[in-house]
Subunit: 313 residues, 2 copies
DNA sequence: AGTCTTGCATAAGAAAAACTCATCCCTGGG
DNA sequence: CCCAGGGATGAGTTTTTCTTATGCAAGACT
């Protein structure tokens, strides 16, 4: 995955200027001059080809599109700050740091984690749900990782949805997934009912960024084509959420039909919170893997977790 | 909120180098020379005072702390890329973009949103859950926003947990919150039972980054002091999650005791998924507010949403 | 109204950061 | 043992970013 990123310093200046709604104040926050801010903003506007501020006399105002992207921008800088903070603080005061995709964490890991915590009460856990743990098939890091500094206390393991080729890492396959459409049982039996995929034409499709990532873009479109009704159902309309968890929640609230990953939603299906009205399942190559560098795989905390996780599959 | 950020270009180079585990390949991806990569990494290492790569002959390896921060780093860059993408694509293909804190979205907004969608089926929604919608009391932007380009189609509204001082914005108070301890009912009645705050000394405390933000740091510590048992219970131990939703999930799975915001968890309490064993509630100044710039407040999509949201309170 | 003040824009030059080139060094493969 | 591959290093160059100085327009003040 190659990032196509804008000039990062200009972005940081923009964020400060947007926060203060003043180039001057932003400048003083950043310990630079007002002129420097003005330059940076201008270059960013030229780079983007979009006006970010409207200059109204002696004050500046954000354009609506600039304002709308601020939360995401803040989130981005916040993650970066957290990332470096994490490096600085080293041991992290935890024995085991688990990084996993949000849906996996909420629907699969959390219901089981209490059991692990009971068995290994001494292991201090840290669970980080990150939407970036989906990879195209293999990590881009093809080399054997060895010679890590073993004095460091914290051990990081990751759970990836990917193809399983992680050379240099110990990767244990947990389970494969398949994409299926889910809805509230009442909705499926309602009017119009959901009996076959073509019925989706009369229903609201719920989209989310996470599923786009798993499917490699246009998740619903692909699923519909897979079901043979790509032509008959418009995949573009419908509300869009930032996370699959929200889509599932929306589906259970009868807002529409969402895409979900089995077996993660099996408990929702069993409890009748959701139902899967169609047999059609799209099976991506990907599966969930527990991934960690070989060199830390035999630390007590890591191997205990690994052993436990595999016993849960 | 002032960000303390490292040299951003160096971070980007580091990410590429970590991905390839090769300075040479990273260099070619970034269209610069291997020497440039080497310099950047070195300067970042000096800035952080931490070794990021271990040089082992002709190959480089990540140190464990460097590797552990990668997911967060990727998440950061990804958000930045998404943010600028959003500016570029302008209208966003949606009529209404709602940005709200994750717990609010999952526990309050989603259960009600189906109703809104039914009433206003024409309004194309986009819901973005962002953990950065908590502010210290007021937005830092004190100016009246006017003269936005009204031709832009998408309207962005935000839901903030804050003090309600948003000059230039139309801010409608939704409801106040209070922090309370929650646990699984079985856990509370179990052995040792949870009868008064001091009993927490014998239980696992669940921490999360979101609650830290709300409380302004050391959430449990503050809550315990508020309950008068700051001395008797160790607030530092226990697993740590990246989101309050995960803490609540962990609590309901009997992993320990979490901090929660009322009234967001009221439905969990009503359904007996969770219980609030103590009367002690800590009431931060903050409340949830619907916030949007004055100038877009009267657009049809925005005013419909606003009216509906207020009717739900 | 006229004047002052405040804040952004702009141009030119200065400073700093980032990059390249040339070269060295080490390691592992043949 | 020698060679090739890949990273390190230092000097010098290019590019970016910043500052200083100044201009300009709008709101505040008298």
């Amino acid at each position: 995955m190659i990032y196509r990123l804008p000039p990062l310093n200009a972005l940081r200046v923009f964020e400060a200027a947007a926060r203060h709604l003043s180039f001057k104040d932003a400048a003083s926050e950043l310990s630079i001059t007002q002129a420097a801010v003005s330059h940076q903003i201008k270059s960013l506007e030229e780079y983007l080809g979009v006006e970010l501020f409207r200059r109204a006399g002696r004050r500046v105002q954000l354009t609506e599109s600039a304002r709308a992207c601020l939360p995401r921008l803040r989130e981005g800088f916040d993650s970066l700050a957290a990332a470096v903070e994490m490096i600085r603080e080293r041991a992290e005061e935890a024995d085991l740091l688990i990084t996993a995709p949000p849906v996996f964490t909420a629907r699969w890991l959390m219901p089981r984690l209490a059991d692990f915590a009971r068995r290994e009460p001494k292991i201090e856990l840290r669970v980080f749900a990150s939407s970036k743990m989906v990879d195209a098939g293999a990590l881009d890091s093809p080399t054997l990782v060895s010679g890590l500094d073993l004095r460091e206390d914290a051990s990081g393991v990751e759970i990836h949805l990917g193809g399983g080729h992680y050379p240099g890492y110990r990767a244990d396959r947990l389970f494969g997934v398949s994409m299926t459409a889910v809805a509230s049982p009442e909705l499926a039996k309602g009017d119009p009912p959901l009996r076959e995929p073509a019925d989706l034409a009369h229903h609201v499709l719920l989209h989310d960024d996470a599923m786009e990532l798993v499917a490699g873009g246009n998740a619903w479109q692909r699923w519909l084509e897979n079901a043979g009704v790509g032509e008959r159902v418009d995949a573009s309309r419908g509300p869009r959420f930032s996370s699959n968890i929200l889509s599932l929640e929306a589906a259970s609230q009868k807002l529409g039909v969402a895409l979900a990953l089995r077996p993660l939603v099996d408990s929702d299906l069993a409890s009748n919170r959701l139902c899967a009205p169609f047999k059609t399942e799209m099976k991506p190559q990907a599966a969930y893997y527990l991934v960690c560098p070989e060199v830390i795989a035999d630390r007590p905390a890591v191997s205990a977790f690994r052993k436990w996780l595999l016993s849960q599959v």
